[in-house]
């Protein structure tokens, strides 16, 4: 992941030199919020990429879920967000389960199943939005859904959440090291672990300061946007499943050698199906943030969202061929994509330039990764 982080640093320096507003707290918060959708959909994609599968429709199905939420809480139905939001996530999870069943039981490649899904659900989405009779656009009025992106945690809670998060992570890292040490296993030197924890704490403090600096122009605006803890929650959940549970272990193993996993007596299909559901679940949450950010949904479905989701995962370092990747990769990749988008907008560059640069960055990230891996293998 190091080359990618260096790349991100270069991008940041470039944009900052060209426009001093890039690293202002207001723009950084904006950038984090913009990256949310790429991060969440990238994480959704990683569940399947780890298996060596892919979902070409996540950018559509997630927005379809978001549209369901908007319609349910909109004036027509007036559902409570408490039921509407989980239900919409469940819809996307259900689509994932459907894909999974077709792939696992009928042995159709996920590439094809989700391509078909892309077209089908794009049609469903357009139909659903148009059938509301609101002229092809539905606006979010419901406060909770609106606040997912536009609401903020209070400055005090920002500090509390960040300190709690850093303390928990620090505790886990130190305890991990001490446990291994007391069992007589090889560990990193304790000083090394402490430095890592300290760096983590510094990053937390910097983030809290950024979030809590006033970024409003007329009325004061402070605190961490709700989107950030949602991102971190999903990241933690995904990382926990992948690293601490049997299901996660099998997802990696299936991506490495599924026949070996089958021979080890694991019910491979069950875990493949699970991964499809988790893709839907994660994507469904992303869809809610998407409609919140857009302040509604319209009948012009996003055509490039899926590709950005895959790009976020791959730029971060997740392999397209299965068995290699981490949830955090989507965070790094998502922030890089959002930085390009955000920085180019600040410099008033055109959409065409933005696409080209993102494409070049994607190619560069994958190439550097491939070269690095080959030279590792030769050692």
């Amino acid at each position: 992941m190091l080359p990618v982080l260096v790349g991100l640093l270069i991008l940041v320096i470039y944009f900052q030199v060209r426009n001093a507003a890039f690293l202002s707290s207001g723009n950084l918060v904006n950038l984090f919020v913009q990256s949310t959708i790429y991060i969440l959909l990238g994480m959704a994609e990683i569940w399947l990429l780890l298996l060596g599968e892919i979902d070409l429709s996540i950018g559509i199905t997630s927005v379809l879920g978001g549209a369901v939420a908007v319609i349910l809480v909109d004036q027509q139905f007036h559902w409570s967000w408490f039921f509407a939001l989980p239900l919409s996530v469940l819809v996307v999870t259900g689509i994932g389960a459907l894909y999974g069943l077709i792939v696992v039981r009928l042995k159709v490649p996920s590439f094809i199943v989700t391509l078909a899904g892309y077209m089908t659900f794009q049609g469903v989405l357009i139909y659903l939005v148009d059938s509301q009779g609101t002229g092809g656009t539905i606006t979010v009025h419901e406060k909770v859904l609106y606040d997912l992106v536009y609401g903020d945690v209070t400055p005090v809670w920002t500090w509390i959440l960040i300190i709690a998060g850093v303390a928990f992570m620090g505790y886990r890292m130190i305890k991990f090291d001490l446990n291994r040490r007391s069992s007589g296993l090889v560990t990193d030197p304790l000083a090394f672990v402490l430095v890592k924890v300290a760096l983590f704490a510094v990053a937390g403090v910097i983030l809290a300061l950024i979030f809590n600096t006033n970024r409003g122009s007329f009325i004061p605006l402070r605190g961490m946007p709700f989107a950030i803890p949602i991102d971190i929650g999903v990241l933690s959940f995904g990382t926990f499943i992948l690293t601490k549970t049997k299901a996660g272990r099998y997802i990696y193993a299936i991506g490495g050698n599924s026949e070996a996993v089958r021979r080890a007596g694991v019910r491979v299909d069950r875990y493949r199906l699970l991964a499809f559901c988790l893709t839907g679940l994660t994507g469904g949450i992303g869809g809610l943030l998407y409609v919140s950010n857009l302040n509604g949904v319209n009948d012009g479905p996003p055509s490039t969202l899926t590709l950005y989701a895959i790009a976020a995962a791959v730029i971060g370092g997740t392999s397209l061929f299965g068995g290699r990747g981490k949830m955090i990769h989507a965070v790094v990749g998502g922030i890089i994509i959002a930085s390009i988008y955000n920085g180019m907008a600040l410099l008033s560059m055109s959409a065409s330039t933005q696409y080209i640069v993102t494409g070049v960055v994607l190619l560069a990230a994958v190439t550097i990764d491939a070269v690095a891996r080959r030279s590792n293998a030769n050692n």
Binding site: K246, G256, G265, A377
Partner: protein
């Protein structure tokens, strides 16, 4: 065909595995008995009418030419696919092995020719694949790592630097050792190995043969497929020969020498070895 019962402990239960515990020297019930096992893939008859007894605590070598059906036979035993016909008995009881899970539950562990390791996982993760230790339903990495270290020490596998390195970074011999160690973990009673030394150099081959002897010394029954007659004669207590999908001879290793083994492998019969075919019950 003249049978010479005293020449073979594999012949102890002449009336079939269902009447185990019969008379005569070395009459321990076979750990695994095959009777009339056949397997066809569509019109291709890969193996047919295989009768074989595998004595407990011994190393049995299964030899035969390329395509003789050795791999198909052990995959049938291991539940990779079901036999097209025949019966299997485990310690005298008839068994039906439908899946690798069934075989594992009986205590049959198989090291396939392709090893079936996940290159992207580390040694510990591969060792415990499918039977991870957990604590509060979370993976207990420390317990698994300690046990892996211990097992590799017990089996005298000393060449791997860290059990946390990914399997893709290991040499052929190390990979073989990991696959074998994985197979004997968790009380396996019968370890089956398909050509464990085929891809290895001299030193690594010696290590794997030593590993097989270590297993036998621990009372584990081993069925090993090999092409290499030197390997076979150096580790095997019993030998079984396959020819064109049939089992053409089996008996104690002392019944065979290199010349007769080669003859059996190439022609399916040998004037120099008393026929030791088992009755098909």
């Amino acid at each position: 065909m003249s049978t010479t019962p005293e020449s073979s402990e594999l012949l102890s239960s002449t009336s079939g595995p269902s009447e185990h515990g019969g008379s005569g020297a070395g009459s321990a019930t076979p750990l695994l008995s095959l009777r009339g096992i056949s397997k066809n893939f569509g019109a291709v008859q890969a193996i047919q009418g295989v009768n074989l007894d595998i004595a407990p605590g011994k190393v049995t070598a299964l030899i035969g030419d390329n395509g003789a059906g050795k791999s198909v036979l052990i995959k049938t035993i291991s539940g990779i696919w079901e036999p097209s016909g025949g019966h299997m008995y485990w310690k005298g009881e008839e068994i039906h092995v439908h899946t690798p899970r069934n075989a594992a539950a009986l205590g049959i562990a198989t090291v396939y020719q392709d090893l079936a390791l996940c290159d992207n996982l580390d040694i510990v993760q591969n060792m415990y694949l499918g039977r991870e230790e957990t604590k509060f339903s979370m993976l207990d990495e420390i317990k698994m790592e300690l046990a892996t270290n211990q097992l590799l020490r017990d089996l005298s596998v000393s060449t791997v630097k860290s059990v946390r390195q990914i399997v893709a970074s290991l040499s052929g011999g190390q990979r073989q050792a990991i696959a074998v160690a994985r197979a004997v973990m968790h009380d396996s009673q019968l370890v089956i190995m398909d050509e464990p030394t085929a891809a290895l150099g001299v030193t690594q081959t010696a290590q794997v043969l030593q590993l097989i002897r270590t297993l036998a010394a621990r009372g584990i029954t081993v069925l090993v497929i090999s092409h290499n007659l030197n390997d076979v004669f150096s580790v095997a207590d019993n030998i079984a020969v396959m020819h064109l999908g049939t089992l053409c001879s089996s008996g104690p290793a002392s019944n065979y020498d290199t010349a007769s083994a080669v003859e059996l492998i190439t022609t399916g019969h040998s004037s120099r070895v008393a026929s030791t075919l088992l009755p098909s019950s």
